[in-house]
Symmetry: C2
Subunit: 140 residues, 2 copies
């Protein structure tokens, strides 16, 4: 992945996006065996850990807009991994039995994901980079 020579390399917008695209590819690969792409896997993990969680809470956890979360949930409902129970203006999201069954595999794939990038980057560097990125996100 050589990009050293791009004139945009000192632009955080550009660099952040490039990293994001690569990481998404790596992450999607990690979850591919389960048949989910990253966001769906993350969604399912959240719901499995907090059955009945509401879309708003999910959107905060995932740092995605509520409309995006609705779309993710819809697809997972269609695939029979999640169910919605609407009550008044709120909605509660639950895993199905099939959704629950996937949890161990997802956790394993997630661990692999961490392992795969942190061996390439080095554990310390990955950790520091992730923290720095979080710090930036938080400040911006």
């Amino acid at each position: 992945m050589e990009q050293k020579d791009s004139k945009f390399c000192n632009c955080l917008y550009y660099s952040a996006n490039a990293l994001s695209r690569i990481m998404t590819k790596i992450s999607d690969d990690a979850f591919a065996s389960i048949g989910l792409s990253s966001s769906y896997a993350f969604l399912l993990m959240i719901v499995n850990d907090h059955p009945g969680v509401q879309p708003t809470e999910i959107s905060q956890q995932m740092q995605l807009t509520p409309s995006t979360v609705t779309r993710l949930i819809e697809k997972m409902e269609h695939r029979k991994y999640l169910e919605r129970k609407t009550n008044g203006r709120t909605t509660e999201v639950y895993p199905t039995v099939d959704g629950e069954k996937l949890q161990p595999k997802i956790k394993k794939a997630w661990a692999n994901l961490y392992h795969s990038y942190s061996t390439v980057l080095g554990k310390d560097f990955s950790k520091r980079l992730t923290e720095d990125i979080n710090l930036a996100t938080q400040k911006l």
Copy 2:
């Protein structure tokens, strides 16, 4: 932007994507006055700096796939900021007069973009973060 409490915060995929979304928003804001979103502005900068540049070269500079670059060029052609001259299997991309005229504004907006995030994050931290992100991208 509080996200501290997300269980995914120590996941580089997640963090990288969150940063990317925020930076894209900031960057699009910076270029909004020109009526371009970030990628189009970057594309136009490249073409203005290298009239006749080919899509493959652009895709390397921008770290986007060739098909994405084709799509970007198409839209900029439609908006009369760029022109393609096809010659055999290669294509050369040129700015139109209107496209050239935009260059100073784009450069200014780009400078503002840099200024706006680096004042929030601190110059040194922005610089280091960008470099670290580039390093990661390069290694992955």
